[in-house]
């Protein structure tokens, strides 16, 4: 066990740190906003990619560096340390790219992957639908093949992060309703600028609109943009989902809430409270801080396992479960410490991309308002508990009400 860098890691860290320091203005250090401006964000990612700091773990032939998860983690840590906004194409890198690498044709890999890493193209993930959330395989978006072999897509996706900026997306569709729901799915790469695609921002309870609804009205996709075999879409999607959970739950980063920032906030406010209240605040903060430390070090264990060649397993879901809880507690405490200001809101404008950025009250209020969504996005707590219960602890699944039914029968039953 060793938390210190190996000499190789230390050298890598020094190199990364120096690069980030040299380019801190270009990289938007300490501006705190990822999507302030699409072009700027793309330029930042390209700068980092060209320096070799994006897609560190991706194979060289996919445009990556062929590096280790630890190297990637060091890049992430150094970016966080320098307060450089996250990459615009996080979803592309974390979820879409691995799916193309795992299931795409050589032609698709050649055309897409490097551009994705440079953010020449921004990607999104088109899985969820209004009628299929946790039960993803119940999706209804239809893909029908014509005589030329092209696919015609009709349907609606929802909760699509970045769709309003994206160039491409991975799209899960139903190609055969007359088999069991998991078996009739097929995955495609879709051009978001193609005719028939329309994107509508979906406003969240924060007031912001990071998500979108995406409508497909007879959108044509050539068969060459299929990812994997016809009817194998569920297997392809599992690659994506496994990557997603890792992105959300692992690696020792904080979820939704930077605990040191909360500590600073608490430290700045606690002294003004009566002693009794200080004691209560210390209990709440201590509990949330322990939870955060637990999550951080569990992330390090996961990262170590990945470095030693393990695949990201369902254990990563535990990180999201624990992290969501800790973040809720921290946000709640942070807001309560605002005193009289705690009853005032961020105002919906603070969450908009064109906002000048939130003030202190708004910062915590926006976080608070964003957290209920975080407990749902990327798998509700209930779904994550099922996954851990069944795939880690080996507990038996629930009997399936939809067992042995085709999708068409299920849909007719109103499910």
């Amino acid at each position: 066990m060793d938390f210190d860098d190996t000499p190789d890691e230390a050298a890598w860290r020094a190199e990364v740190r120096a690069f980030l320091a040299d380019h801190k203005d270009e990289l938007g250090a300490r501006t705190g906003r990822r999507d302030l401006d699409d072009e700027t964000s793309r330029r930042r990612q390209a700068l980092l990619y060209d320096a070799g700091y994006v897609g560190v773990t991706w194979p060289v032939e996919a445009g990556g560096r062929g590096g280790t998860p630890m190297q990637q983690a060091i890049v992430d840590q150094e970016m966080a340390r320098a307060a450089i906004p996250g990459l615009i194409n996080l979803i592309g890198i974390g979820m879409c790219g691995p799916t193309v690498i795992g299931h795409g044709s050589q032609d698709q890999k050649d055309r897409y992957l490097k551009r994705l890493l440079r953010a020449d193209d921004v990607w999104c993930q088109l899985f969820s639908e209004p009628a299929s959330g946790s039960d993803l395989a119940a999706l209804r978006t239809r893909a029908v093949q014509d005589e030329q072999g092209d696919w015609h897509i009709t349907g609606q996706k929802v909760w699509t992060t970045l769709a309003h900026l994206a160039d491409y997306g991975i799209l899960l569709t139903r190609t055969d309703p007359d088999v069991a729901k998991h078996r009739g799915l097929t995955m495609f790469v879709v051009d978001l600028k193609a005719p028939g695609v329309s994107v509508r921002p979906l406003r969240q309870m924060t007031g912001g609109a990071e998500f979108n609804e995406v409508f497909f009205d007879d959108v044509v996709i050539p068969d060459s943009e299929r990812l994997g075999e016809v009817g194998e879409g569920w297997r392809v999607a599992l690659t994506t989902l496994m990557s997603e959970r890792l992105t959300l739950g692992g690696g020792g980063g904080d979820i939704g809430m930077n605990v040191e920032r909360v500590a600073e906030h608490v430290g700045g406010r606690i002294g003004a409270l009566p002693p009794d209240r200080q004691a209560l605040v210390r209990q709440d903060f201590g509990r949330a801080y322990v939870a955060t430390l637990g999550m951080r070090y569990t992330g390090y264990r996961l990262l170590t396992a990945l470095s030693k060649g393990s695949l990201p397993g369902p254990e990563a879901s535990a990180g999201k479960l624990a992290g969501t809880r800790a973040a809720l507690e921290l946000a709640d405490l942070a807001v309560r410490l605002l005193g009289d200001d705690a009853v005032y809101g961020a105002g919906p404008d603070s969450a908009r991309p064109d906002s000048a950025g939130p003030d202190e009250t708004a910062t915590w209020q926006l976080l608070q308002a964003g957290l209920p969504g975080m407990a749902i996005a990327g798998g509700t707590n209930e779904v994550l508990r099922n996954i851990i219960g069944e795939r880690v602890l080996g507990l038996p699944p629930e009997p399936r009400a939809d067992k042995g039914m085709t999708f068409r029968e299920l849909a007719a039953a109103g499910a």
Binding site: D340, G345, P372, I376, E382, D402, M405
Partner: protein, 336 residues
Amino acid sequence: MDFDLSAEQRDLAAAAADFLGAGADLAAVRAALDDIETPLPVPPGRKGLVESGFATITVPEASGGGGGTVLDLAVVAEQAGRVLAGPSLVGYARAAELLSGDQARLAALADGSLAVAVHDGGPVLDAVGADQFLARVGDDIVIAAGTVSPRAAIDASRGLADVALGDAEVVLSDAAERWRRAEQVGRVVLAAEGLGAAARAVELGVAYAKERHAFGRPIGSYQAVKHALVDAYVEVEQLRSLVWWAAWTAEEEPAALPLASAAAKAAAASALERAAETLIQVHGGIGFTWEHDAHLYWRRAKVDRLLLGDEAGALDEVARIALGDLPGAERAGAER
């Protein structure tokens, strides 16, 4: 013993539900959230509420009010909470207590010519739309005009603003005890509004859980969803008992009001937060969209829990009273 609403109170609840169901408007509450600079009061508004007579139920009939009890007002407040009506009945409840004996002002309150809010030193509930403010200076109750500075709202239906008071006129001297009682009555009415909002949030969650399917069956058939709703429901029903009891003490056993109002306040803060969070969680993605009503209940929860003292403060009071540090436990402590 008869721990139930009377037939008249049930009729009152039904009438309030009719009026508020027609008058309140969640879409307006949502729209008001975008209205940062110049927030507008949400429906039914002061005028409608006063004209309906519901706002001033506790003002004596001689002054043009309803001559009813705090329990009557709590029954109405529950209905108001269900639809997130504005302004809160808390202000009217407190004003009726604070102005007790001041016939002229009570009459003005009841006929709507006095639009008053209560100023506790921090953010003022329903300051938006008020032109006079009741406040405590030393042991005096005073009234004053004020300069209202609205701020971005978490819950736009609460009309919160910072208020700088103008010149004050003394309404009543040596009135610390009355101020405290009015605050306690305010807590009861706030808890009653919280009860209504929480009960409604559970209903909305239950309705969705019956209708939405996942994996071939309604999500409400899954224990994770079912039990979350049950826990929220059980908490709401405990709250209902505390609200009724606390409201009843206001007239019938004032010595127990400090304990009962603190208990109801604490229970309301927790029950409404749980109910609103459960409502969002049960709805999944749709539950955290702007267009869904779930976040309006969540916003109400996040604000109300801090009004008239927070949950920790209320629990501290409960404990001090129950442990004998503070008066007010006469009935609760007595085995009968």
